[in-house]
Amino acid sequence: MNQILHIFAKDVRRFWPEILISLGITAAFVWAYPVNWASVSRINFSYADTRRLEIVANVLTGLVPASWWLLITRVIHAESLVGDRQFWITRPYEWPKLLAAKALFIAAFIYLPFTVAQWALLIQAGFPPFNYLPGLLFNLLFATATVVVPLVAISAVTRNFVRMTLTLLAILLGIVAVAILSDFAESSPVGTPYGDVYSFPLVLIVGISAVVLQYARRKVWLTRALIASALVCIAIAAIVLPTQGMVDAAFPPPAGLPDINLHLSLDQEERKVSVSNSEKKNQVDVGIPLIAEGVPPQHMVEINDVKASIDGPGGLHWTSPWHIVYNRRFMLGAWTSTVEFTMPKRIYEQFGSAPVTLKLTLATTETRAGKATRMPLSSQAFSVPDFGVCPANAYWATSAVSPEMTCRVAFNQPRLTYVTASESTEPCKIALAQPQQTETVGTWVGSLDPGLAEFGITSVWTTSVNLAGEVSYPNRRHHVCPDASLTFTQYELVRRTQSDMTIPTITLPKLKTAAETILLRE
């Protein structure tokens, strides 16, 4: 223990300027960040000052991890593990104690200020911190896996700050290259509730192993090889994602269970199948207009992913990979929607204008309404249990044209919630003077699987509750006035499964040339 404290004290004496810089940045971040919450206004701050402070807060959000990078690199390199000329390697340093001293330094000057900052932000945002200890700990674990351990591991296999920075840049360039390569890969991103479950533990386990190995044996090339192999594994997984397996695991085929409560049919009356050039080279986006109905009351069915199969004349067949689908949620009643998939332009043109059979396989999630909280819309900030703190916009009373609340949530997006509000058809001034006919408007917020925390430098996130809704109301303005009735209904998972929809005969439209597209726009 004495040796641990001895090395720790030396590091504190040596790196006090870096420590002060890091603490200063963290303190400034805690002071500035709440500007992102609409209701937190600074005394004597003009609109321009507030915008400037927002920029400062965003810069500080990046500077906090940058200061960690500086601190970690400096403290690890103080007893560099690379090379054979360092003074300390022929002194009675015991490697577990040296490693413990470095861990203590990181705990004291990264974890502790980070925890205090998160705590302070929770208090400022109106959340009792003790209720969010699991989220706080989970965020620390995230910070460990995504920032601290990788920085320590890279510092442990580099000789100095410059080399560490260059290595970090090389890794970032590698990530960019992988992102570009994955665009060319056959697989597309898919939406599963689990996301990437492998990279996080892999980085944590390999990173910690590399650090321990390097401190225990100082086998630089072996440790570098270990880190490089983990990075290559993650890169390969990112490029060649086993999407079919991922979707099948998350959305198991029905296997004897009754079909999901959703009936889809081709919308042939008002809309047509659309095709346009995709952002991806030599690909086209095909949009299938659908009518969704059959969802029981108090239920919601969401389409998460889609896979298309097309059979054309002469045995021509093509199947797409899974594609992610955003914001396709259906409730009681008939809903119009479009499901899009991407296919190679060359294959699309092979099908020509002959009728084809289209089969859509849909990864769907069925949910049902759970706990509901009702309360009047207040001009003051109000707390919604199990949701967050929602401040009302100051200008609602007079000009609530696009009623939008920016709610504060702790550590993560809230559980999937349907927020409804009674809406006036007249501006609020008139509506308040003489009660009007009201309608209900609603919007979806949050996620079915929010987890304990989403990694962030902040403990407080904002989520937008846009009561203009996802459905457009042409030629109509919304007025959600003070004292309007708000309902927050949480939705619970019923099941996730796959369902098929077959359109026996459909004609794919001709793909317009670039010239035709320009002409049409004009």
């Binding site: 004495n2 040796q3 040596r14 054979d84 390697i89 002194r91 009675p92 340093y93």
Partner: protein, 313 residues
């Protein structure tokens, strides 16, 4: 006598380059062992293997009874190491460095530290990065002597220093490390001749000899022979006569296995026409140069003679 440091058939390869080949030696406790050799002979590599900074490709080294491979952490409480190439904690002052190191050694002798600081006139408040090479080396000496290590390993500690500083450092070793085993590599043959008790000569990664200084000095002689008539053209000297230089009636060579009374008889037996024989003792520098020259000329593959190794021990 108990060994402080020993090496057994140590080989170190860097890729395809052999830096050390089958190096063996043995150093008794309390000895002052000087490792000499030209630049690139493998002296620093050998020291790094001893200190577990590098690992041997083959063979093993034992330091104070511990395999060098296991020299980590607490082992260094008993070992001092100073190298001309060592990176210092440049950010701190001399006093700060000594304060810091003091915490690692339970047996740190504060009086000895103060004495050495006074003797070397060390500026305690000056940062190491602002010190001259000589003063840095003095500070390194204090930090490695103050805990009275059982073994002190010094890699070229005197190179590039002015004679005054060299004297100060050697004197400190003589006075304050009397009970320690000292292993140093050096080019400064005059300095170590008066100081070392044992000497090893490394040439192109091979240990040419390793023995007690007195035995070595006794063993090597410079021999001049005056001949009555020139030697035959096909005459070849025995292998222990190094660097023979023959003028028509004069032969000079280095006798590397000299024994009193026997060598002269040997010469007379091999050179019957010898009219005068002069046998003179040699300085370490001359022995070193003669061995280097002989090794270069012949690329002799001499292994350490086990009997001589025993003598050194």
């Amino acid at each position: 006598m108990e060994e402080a440091i020993s090496a057994h058939r140590v080989t170190k390869n860097f890729g395809r380059t052999a830096a050390l080949r089958n190096v063996s030696f043995s150093i008794p406790r309390g000895a002052v062992y000087a490792l000499v050799g030209e630049n690139g002979a493998g002296k620093t590599t050998l020291i790094k293997l001893m200190m577990n900074i590098l690992s041997p490709t083959a063979g093993q080294i034992t330091v104070l009874g511990t395999n060098s491979h296991d020299l980590i952490g607490k082992s260094f409480v008993r070992i001092g190491y100073v190298s001309e190439n060592q990176e210092f904690a440049d950010w701190t002052t001399v006093g700060g460095m000594l304060n810091y190191f003091r915490g690692f050694y339970p047996q740190w002798d504060r009086d000895l530290e103060r004495r050495l600081i006074r003797q070397f006139d060390l500026p305690l408040k000056r940062k190491l990065k602002h010190l001259s090479r000589g003063v840095r080396m003095k500070a390194a000496f204090v930090s490695s002597l103050a805990y009275r290590p059982d073994a002190i390993v010094l890699d070229e500690p005197l190179s590039g220093l002015d004679p005054f500083v060299r004297d100060e450092l050697v004197q400190a070793l003589r006075d304050e490390a009397r009970e320690s085993t000292i292993f140093l590599s050096s080019h400064d043959l005059a300095e170590i001749e008066a100081f070392a008790t044992h000497v090893g000569f490394l040439e192109q990664g091979r240990m040419i000899f390793s023995e007690g200084m007195s035995i070595l000095m006794e063993r090597f002689r410079e021999v001049s022979v005056t001949l009555a008539e020139p030697l035959a053209q096909n005459w070849t000297p025995p292998t222990h006569w190094l660097n023979p230089e023959l003028s028509p009636q004069q032969l000079r060579f280095i006798h590397k296995d000299h024994r009193a009374n026997i060598s002269e008889e040997q010469v007379r037996a091999l050179l019957p026409t010898a009219t005068a024989i002069r046998i003179e003792p040699m300085r370490l520098r001359s022995i070193f140069l003669a061995m280097a020259k002989a090794a270069k000329a012949n690329r002799l593959e001499l292994e350490v003679d086990p009997s001589q190794e025993g003598a050194a021990a």
